[in-house]
Amino acid sequence: MHNKTLTELAQGLREKQYSSVELTQFFLDRINQHQALNSFITVADESALEQAKAADTRLAADDNTTPLTGIPVAQKDIFCTQGIKTSCGSKMLDNFIAPYDATVIEKFNQAGAVMPGKLNMDEFAMGSSNETSFYGPVKNPWNLETVPGGSSGGSAAALAARLVPAATGTDTGGSIRQPSSLCNITGLKPTYGRVSRYGMIAYASSLDQGGPMARSAEDAALLLQTMAGFDPKDSTSVDTEVPDYSATLNDSLEGLKIGLPKEFFSEDLNNDIAAVIETAINEYKKLGAEVKEVSMPNLNLAIPSYYVIASAECSANLSRFDGVRFGYRCDKPADLTDMYTRSRGEAFGPEVKRRILMGTYALSAGYYDAYYLKAQQVRRLISDDFKKALSEVDVLMGPVSPSTAFAIGEKSGDPIQMYLSDIYTIAINLAGLPAMSIPAGFANEKPVGLQIIGNYFAEARLLNIAHQYQQVSDWHKLTPKGFE
């Protein structure tokens, strides 16, 4: 059951091979059986079974059903869920029960999907290894000594271990793609503004974007269909028509122009990863694609630009956590300043504090022009680099991560090393473009993802390109030992 695609699961429900209650119970049992992965923060047994019962009624009456009706879809713990804890991986929100649903959650509910629980993540989505969560690190099912990547590490691990058939993630600097790459699953970061950010706890508002994480591009298309669309409640949401993402999955790739940014393939790229990427690109050539080298000269400044902008926006966004209206409040505060300072000091972890401090500094008087303004200008130049490259080719391809899954604890003491984990993904967030990670092979028995970057709102084309590769490869079907 756990190896079936979403389409197959939906078909089984309609053919009455099993009910949604049975399907949900099956996945809840798998989640409970593999708690050692630590991929969930909250397992919502009761409400999931209630949702499943409602889905069964809807399916029996054939009342307004969708391909996701009755299917378990786990949610990253960054999306607010009414009545069920939303912690965002932080002690600050350990007691937080949101009074409303995020738009993404509302859309899954309307589709009739079942939510088995909330997935573990780096605290406030700040991290590249899922080690900054208040609830402890998530383990990578491919090698339990290693990290699953972050910040959507719980989503990636749960999918890789087949604990859920579908999940969501969010990507501010690579947080959908990097864990997808490290865990051998398919993840899509949509164009900025494509998926509503309403009710998705904000980290860096001009970069954050929710998206689907799945076992295949075909499944990701179904999830994105539900998630995407204009939302008047999100002032950064873009009012553009949502195409039928499943309809074009089988389009031919004949004549597809692939650009390889030479900056992605410098000598810093690990040879084993480079070999996997090269083999995958050769498969695309066999499918009819043409390949050419492109250049993006400002890409080397993506990390500094990103960390100024992300830290600045995070210091502003996280100012709402002050112990007044919700979340953690320190014990017996002496005065108001003591309450703010101690509540924030006791409830935020070290990485969150580091970024708040950095952002506060970068935005402070005297430094604004040198850091924030400069970073926004560099961002423009990086975005222009992408525009130029994508005027010459249809998509760009390259690695997702400079390394495969690394050991738990290996990089956690060195923030710069950790920040460099996102070196190939961050620039895409600065430009706001859509990009995917798809399973492309293994290096030293660890998964390697191929990154595919497209033009604005070209998610359908990306899914088509990913799906065609998955028709001629089996990497995405492989399951880690112990989770078959």
């Binding site: 400044l301 100012s319 506060t360 850091y371 400069k374 926004q376 560099v378 130049l381």
Partner: protein
Amino acid sequence: MSLTADDVKKIAHLARLGINSQDIENYAKDLSNILDLMTQMGELDTAGVQPMAHPLDQTQRLRADVVIEENQREHFQAIAPQVENGLYLVPKVID
């Protein structure tokens, strides 16, 4: 560019962020390293480049000036650390 322990204390105060005194040196070291990374941007000439705040260069969308939200005070205050008579309670501000 390097930050001192005093700089970190000052920034932490501005951010109303409590930091354990034994961690201050480490924050100063980490933040200095991150600032070095950020200073790399200074090498690029960006004179005349329009700063980019939104990836699609969109501006704030406006809506009609009408009330669309219902009053949900009780609902929202149900999760507050301390409330009384519909107000959020905080330590005394004025003597």
